[in-house]
Symmetry: C2
Subunit: 141 residues, 2 copies
DNA sequence: ATCCTACGATGGACTCAGTCCAAGTCAAGA
DNA sequence: TCTTGACTTGGACTGAGTCCATCGTAGGAT
């Protein structure tokens, strides 16, 4: 994720320790943390980082397109650093676990012009819901 | 929507004036109201109905499958009485307006077994995002 | 028609996620 | 090293939704 820090510097960002730590926490695959989880992990590395700063930084990363905001039903939004490889999500309706998935077909073209009602359609979001292996077992035993 | 009231009676529900009024407010096509909007409209017909009752009734209707809960990003959930005709949603990212749409293709089968990671996948939700005709014009002028 | 009571309604307190703001701090250019 | 505006901080605040003790009433029983 150090290339992310490079890109941010290129955009005129001040490289504060807080921003470095948030970027570090978001590094990896299949990462879908809530803001509070990001805050908790960041605080292990930089104890006095504030919740407000985590929210600010995540918001900035989202509007730069470096992180995707995933809103799952009623719970807290999740933040996904895997923004440069388009993908969809498979969510466990019991425990909330999320996996990245890559469906075949292109959902955007599945919406015929007659069904667009004059909208300028730009993105599509597909969420598969079901039970993860662990929860399937728990509920059937 | 009187058939809805019939079905509810069949399930042992007490037909209170509050439940009747909520059912009445939810009648119609392309209805996607927030809980507070349902409350406001219900209160025109039955002034002292409480927010808690609206939430309770909506929750019950959802778990009976009579109403669908649509969670749009960070805002309040919307409640959709069009539960017996499967459909997806087209949402204006600026003003929040929602239209029902019927994409071709079946998104559920677009997820190959290899991409299911042992999940028992039961539903799929597709949200198309873009600008409605009004907002497209506003932003381009 | 009246009574009974379990189911439902009420409103106010509470939680949780997220935003806002005034004051203090510090990264980085001069 | 100095300066300054961008950034951070913690606490107050908001909005959506839940919880709960208490009260009311739908509808079956008599
Ligand atoms: Mn993802
Ligand atoms: Mn709908
Ligand atoms: Zn699970
Ligand atoms: Zn619009």
């Amino acid at each position: 994720m150090s290339d992310l820090l490079e890109r941010l510097r290129g955009r005129g960002w001040r490289l504060t320790s807080q921003r470095r730590v948030v970027a570090q926490v978001l590094d990896g695959d299949h990462v879908h943390l809530t803001a509070d989880e990001v805050h908790a992990r960041a605080a292990l590395l930089l104890p006095e980082i504030s919740r407000a700063t985590v929210y600010n930084t995540l918001g900035e990363l989202v509007s730069l397109g470096e992180v995707i905001e995933v809103s799952t039903d009623g719970r807290a939004k999740r933040y996904d650093p895997n923004a440069h490889h388009p993908h969809q999500h498979l969510v466990c309706s019991r425990c909330g676990m999320i996996r990245d998935v890559h469906p075949s077909g292109s959902p955007l073209t599945d919406l015929p012009p007659a069904e667009r009602f004059g909208f300028t359609v730009s993105t599509v979001e597909v969420t598969y819901r079901g039970l993860c292996p662990g929860c399937t077992q728990t509920l059937s035993s």
